[in-house]
Symmetry: C2
């Protein structure tokens, strides 16, 4: 059912809204957008890994139906029939609907537009991911590129800067002349989840980590020491030996991981010691923790809204596809 | 059914063999031993985590029955009725049969003997674990202490040295005057298992890691760089981008983890830069990998047999309990 075809003819109506989908490994966020303005949005946990090969037809249909049963208030009934669906993220990976090959760095928004993969002519398209290969450096991203380039289009990111994009896989992204010049991934969020769900530390994780004293202590330890896989065990030992409170463990472990990530990201050769501002673009809770951690190194950290950046980036791509 | 009682009277027969049990989180190894000589042995996967609170009676009975159905060849029938069962490892933790409190460093074999926990008078006893608390350092071990102190009793470890004890949780152990003076744990084996079973790298792990060129490259990277949680993601990116072969991933990841462990263990303040020999005491396969990794730092690494060390340590403790 999935075919690669040419983009729709330019004379097609450009007045209808678009459905923009941020389709990740574990979550899916759908926005009904008209000229950059969000009319409706819908979130669910139908991530790429929850869908088997035969399930894509249904999964795609769900998206256009997501707003059909909503009582029209500020949207005219015909607006819900969106002109086309533009998707980004892991949906374009080899585990997704169709593989949209990575575009190599440096990458600007125009490069993404040129490499959009049409999976249904005129109705469903996927934005490609970005790769960086400069051996021994090698890295890939899917989804973050739209947000970062969208934030530049919005004017909330300068055209030369360092961006930290926290998530399951945090990305440190170097922007030069408005394009993604290079980047590196740190598996911080994934490691936190592995430790919380499957490790000997699991029973120490009560609640969510917070930007508190234990978090700051973890960050400070990790900035000054590179012994993460040893210090993690000490967290357990201190609780067993009565030297530390169990309730501090989740924040301290989060601080250790994010502090290690910041030490690696700010110390890497592709970053610049003279950069005194780091932009953090992610979910509100993670952005707050990374801003706090980066600030403890003496740099200035500025948090940005990832949803607004995604919609801005995707809307511009959609406009240029017309 | 579990009670703390005094050790058996000294006049009890000392001629019968003992059952020595190395009872860990996921495995159980039972040795029928007479005056330090292994008569029979039995391995199974009835680790501590596989046994619920009501299951301990059965689990203990299994041990004494383990050799009953074996046709006597070099053992007289009555020898199988072992004098008593002495256990070490996670069986003495709060998830085990009964909690044998940690003995704080420095710890020699006599300290273990003094703190043995009798769970059934004269028939079943547990050797305690060891703790090290010198804030912010905090650490615990259960099982490794018997092997290390046993190897000293055997004469295969000098009374002042640095020992590396690989396993799920690798231990770097400083021995001074024949006692465990201090130690630190690195969660290397556990992290390897988490990555192999539950992470985005899982599908790259074909087969077991080997002491090959990819392993050496991983070790060298980790000795020279402290960016483990970033380099791990590059392993996946290199395969996706065709810059590295999938079949090398397991060995390279193992090299990265063990190399990070060695960097931490040999660089830690409790180790001594003048120590040019490191003793490695663990399973044959892990010992080989750690010896190879340590050798790449220019130090000399000597591998020792963990089973012989365990039996030597436990036999001496059993003798002193008489």
């Amino acid at each position: 059912m999935v075919t690669e075809q040419d983009p729709p003819a330019a004379e097609e109506s450009a007045s209808l809204p678009v459905l923009l989908v941020d389709w990740g490994t574990t979550n899916r966020r759908v926005y009904l957008v008209e000229r950059g303005r969000i009319l409706r949005e819908h979130d669910d946990t139908r991530g790429v890994l929850s869908i088997d090969r035969a399930g894509w037809e249904t999964a795609i249909s769900e998206i256009s139906r997501a707003f059909e049963d909503v009582e029209a208030q500020d949207v005219k009934a015909q607006d819900v029939k969106a002109r086309f669906t533009l998707m980004a993220g892991m949906v374009g990976s080899n585990r997704g609907l169709a593989e949209a090959p990575y575009v190599p760095c440096p990458v600007g928004l125009d490069d993404l537009v040129k490499n959009v993969l049409w999976v249904r002519a005129g109705s469903v398209a996927i934005v490609p991911g970005v790769s960086f290969l400069d051996p021994p450096h090698a890295d890939v991203m899917r989804g973050e590129e739209v947000q970062v380039l969208g934030a530049i289009e919005q004017g909330s990111l300068p055209s030369d800067c360092l961006v930290c994009h926290p998530g399951t896989h945090n990305k440190w992204i170097r922007i030069e002349s408005g394009r993604i010049a290079s980047f590196r991934t740190v598996m911080t969020g994934e490691l936190f989840n592995l430790l919380r769900k499957h490790s000997i530390l699991s029973d120490l994780f009560d609640g969510e980590p917070a930007d508190d004293g234990a978090f700051a202590a973890g960050v400070d330890h990790a900035i000054a020491n590179s012994d993460l896989i040893s210090e993690l065990f000490r967290v357990r030992a201190r609780v067993l030996l009565g030297a530390s409170a169990r309730k501090e463990a989740a924040s301290y472990v989060s601080g250790l991981l994010i502090g290690s990530d910041v030490r690696i990201g700010l110390g890497a050769e592709e970053t610049d010691a003279a950069t005194d501002v780091v932009y953090v673009l992610g979910s509100a809770s993670l952005t707050q923790l990374y801003v706090a951690a980066i600030s403890r190194t003496g740099r200035r950290a500025v948090g940005l809204d990832d949803k607004a950046a995604f919609v801005a980036g995707m809307s511009r791509i959609a406009e240029r596809l017309r």
